[in-house]
C-alpha cells in the first residue's frame, strides 16, 4: 500500500524532474526491534521509486556494522543522504527517526539540495564554514507535528553541505528519549551544537552563525 497520495506522488515526480545529479538514501534499520524502522524504510523506498535519480540502499544496523561505522550511524532508524553519480560525496547529512509529518519536507528538501550541490546559504556563512578548522556536530531535535522544525533542520544540513568539518543530524525527540533527556529537550526545534551549546527555535541564519562562532571560539 502506498504511503503517499497519488496527487502528492505526482507533485514529487515533477519536483524530482529537476534532479540533475543522483542522490542515494543510505537507510539503516533493524526490522525486529526498532520503532518506526519499517515505516522509515517504506518512506525511503517510496520516495526513491518516484525518480530514477534517487536510489535507496538498506542495511541492517547489526549485521552491516562495518557500513554503519563507515557512515558513523549510532542509532536507528537512520537515513544518510549522500550524493551519488560520478563524484559521490557524503556531506554528513543524517535523519534519525522517522521523517514523517513536517519532517517529510526536510527529507525532500535535502534530496533536492544534495542533488543541486548548492546550499543557498549567504556568502558570509559559506566563508565561515569554508575556513572552519575544528569539527562541529549539530543535532536538531524535532517532532513530526512541529511546523517550525524543518527550517532548523534544513539550515543545519545546509551548513553540513558547506564544510567537511560539519555534520548535522535531525533527531526525532520522541523516538530517542534518552537523547532528549540527556540534552534536556522539552521544546522543539532545539539545536545542540557540539554537546555544549544550544539554540531554541528556528533561528535566522545570522543568529545561528553567531551561535556557531561562539561554540568554536
Amino acid at each position: 500500500m502506498s504511503l503517499l497520495k497519488e496527487t502528492d506522488q505526482q507533485h514529487l515526480r515533477e519536483q524530482f524532474s529537476a534532479l540533475d545529479t543522483p542522490v542515494k538514501l543510505v537507510m539503516f534499520t533493524q526490522e525486529m526491534e526498532c520503532q518506526y524502522c519499517t515505516e522509515t524504510r517504506m518512506i525511503s523506498e517510496e520516495v526513491a521509486s518516484l525518480s530514477e535519480n534517487i536510489s535507496v540502499e538498506v542495511y541492517d544496523f547489526v549485521r552491516d556494522q562495518e557500513i554503519a561505522e563507515q557512515y558513523n550511524i549510532d542509532k536507528i532508524p537512520a537515513i544518510a543522504i549522500v550524493r551519488g553519480g560520478k563524484q559521490p560525496k557524503d556531506y554528513g547529512i543524517r535523519l534519525y527517526g522517522i521523517p514523517s509529518g513536517y519532517e517529510f519536507s526536510s527529507l525532500i528538501e535535502n534530496i533536492m539540495m544534495v542533488s543541486r550541490g548548492e546550499s543557498g546559504l549567504s556568502p558570509e556563512t559559506k566563508e565561515w564554514a569554508a575556513n572552519l578548522e575544528q569539527p562541529v556536530h549539530l543535532q536538531v531535535f524535532v517532532t513530526p507535528t512541529c511546523p517550525y522544525c524543518p527550517q532548523a533542520v534544513i539550515m543545519a544540513h545546509q551548513l553540513a553541505m558547506e564544510s567537511d568539518m560539519i555534520t548535522a543530524d535531525m533527531v526525532e525527540a520522541i523516538e530517542f528519549p534518552h537523547l532528549s533527556n540527556r540534552y534536556q529537550v522539552q521544546g522543539v526545534p532545539r539545536t545542540v551544537i557540539n554537546d555544549d551549546f544550544h539554540m531554541e527555535g528556528a533561528a535566522p541564519e545570522p543568529m545561528l552563525l553567531g551561535k556557531l562562532q561562539e561554540a568554536v571560539a
Binding site: 502528492d8 517532532t143 512541529c146
Partner: protein
C-alpha cells in the same frame, strides 16, 4: 496501514498549480482584506492566510461606529467579515492558518504555513501589531525547558502532566484543546475578565473536565530549577497563588508589530516596525507591508484598509511589470 504518517503536511508542492498564487496576503484584518478586494478584483489569484477572525486588533474590538460608510455600531469581527465576504466575492481565497516562515529570495517567493508551502509573485504583510513587548520573570530562562509557544510542537513532552496555558484568544483555546490529548490537567490562565475567542471554542473549553479556567488572572512568574516547576498567578482583587506545573504555554498579546515569521529578512526599527516606500513596498522588491506593521502609523482600521489598497495596486504594477498604476475609475 493504521499509522497515519501525515506525509502531505508541510510537503513542498513545487510544480503544483494549486499552491501557486499571484499574491499572498498574510493577515486578514482590515488591511489584508482590503488588499484582497483590490488584488482579486484585478484578476490576480489571491490567497489570504490568517490565524482567525479574532486573532487581530480589529477582530477583538467590541463596538465600532466610526468606520466610513458603516454607521454601526458593529463589532470588529462583523466588520472584518463584511470585508472578507467582499474579497471572496471577487475570488480571493481565505485560509485559516499560521505562517511560520517566508523565503523572500526564492522565485516565486515561498510562504511556509502550518498546512504547507504556498508560492506567490508578490507578498503583502498585514500581520498587525499584537506582538508581545515583554516577557514575564522566568520565561526566557526556561524557554525550551517547559516554556513553549507551540503546543502542537511540544505537547508530546507533557504526557500525563499538568501544564498551564496563558492567553485569551482563539489560538490559546485551540492549543489548550490540543493539549488535552496528552496532559492530565490544564490551568487556563485568562488575563482578561472575558475571553476574546469564538463562542464554539469557549464552549468546548468550558465543557472539558481537564481544563481549569481562571478568568481575570495575570501571570506573574514562571519558576523552576532547570525546568518549569510552577507558575505564579494573581487573580484580579485576589491573592497571588503558585500552581505546580511542568509546562507553561504562553499565548499573550501586546502592542508590538508581529514580524517574527520574517526571520530577520527585513530590517526593523527598534520598536519592531517596518519601513516602506510610498507604494508600501519594503526593501525587498515584491514584498509589501501595511497597517499596524508600519512605523509612525495611526492605528485605525480605515488607515490599514487604505494602506492595503495602495499595496494591492502596487503589487499589480509589480507583477505585471507596469510603469504606472492602473486606475480603477473613470
Amino acid at each position: 496501514m493504521s499509522l497515519d504518517l501525515n506525509l502531505n503536511i508541510g510537503l513542498s508542492t513545487v510544480g503544483s498549480s494549486a499552491n501557486h498564487y499571484d499574491v499572498i496576503i498574510i493577515g486578514g484584518g482590515p488591511g489584508g482584506a482590503s488588499a484582497a478586494i483590490y488584488t482579486a478584483r484585478a484578476d490576480l489569484r489571491t490567497l489570504v492566510i490568517d490565524k482567525g477572525l479574532t486573532a487581530g486588533a480589529l477582530g477583538i474590538t467590541g463596538k465600532i461606529s466610526n468606520y466610513p460608510g458603516v454607521p454601526g455600531p458593529v463589532t470588529g469581527a462583523e466588520l472584518v467579515e463584511i470585508m472578507r465576504g467582499q474579497a471572496e466575492s471577487f475570488g480571493a481565497e481565505f485560509l485559516t492558518d499560521k505562517v511560520v516562515g517566508i523565503d523572500m529570495k526564492a522565485e516565486p517567493k515561498m510562504v511556509m504555513a502550518g498546512t504547507g508551502a504556498f508560492y506567490a509573485k508578490a507578498i503583502i504583510l498585514a500581520t498587525g501589531s499584537m506582538g508581545r513587548t515583554s516577557s514575564v520573570k522566568g520565561e526566557e530562562e526556561l524557554l525550551g525547558r517547559g516554556v513553549s509557544y507551540c503546543a502542537t510542537c511540544d505537547g508530546a513532552f507533557f504526557r500525563n502532566k499538568t501544564v498551564a496555558v496563558i492567553g485569551n484568544n482563539d489560538e490559546a483555546l485551540e492549543e489548550t484543546l490540543f493539549l488535552t490529548k496528552f496532559t492530565e490537567k490544564i490551568h487556563l490562565i485568562v488575563p482578561t475578565p472575558d475571553m476574546k475567542a469564538r463562542d464554539v471554542l469557549m464552549a468546548e473549553v468550558s465543557a472539558n473536565p481537564k481544563i481549569d479556567i481562571r478568568m481575570g488572572t495575570a501571570l506573574k512568574e514562571i519558576s523552576g530549577n532547570g525546568t518549569v516547576q510552577a507558575v505564579r498567578v494573581k487573580p484580579r482583587g485576589g491573592a497571588e497563588e503558585e500552581l505546580p506545573v511542568s509546562g507553561a504555554f504562553v499565548y499573550l498579546q501586546g502592542g508590538k508589530p508581529i514580524t517574527d515569521y520574517l526571520m530577520a529578512q527585513l530590517e526593523t526599527k527598534p520598536d519592531g516596525c517596518l519601513m516602506v516606500d510610498a507604494e508600501m513596498q519594503t526593501a525587498v522588491p515584491g514584498i509589501f507591508a501595511i497597517g499596524d506593521l508600519l512605523c509612525s502609523h495611526i492605528k485605525q482600521a480605515v488607515i490599514a484598509a487604505a494602506d492595503g489598497v495602495i499595496a494591492a495596486v502596487a503589487a499589480d504594477k509589480y507583477i505585471n511589470g507596469r510603469e504606472k498604476v492602473k486606475q480603477d475609475w473613470k
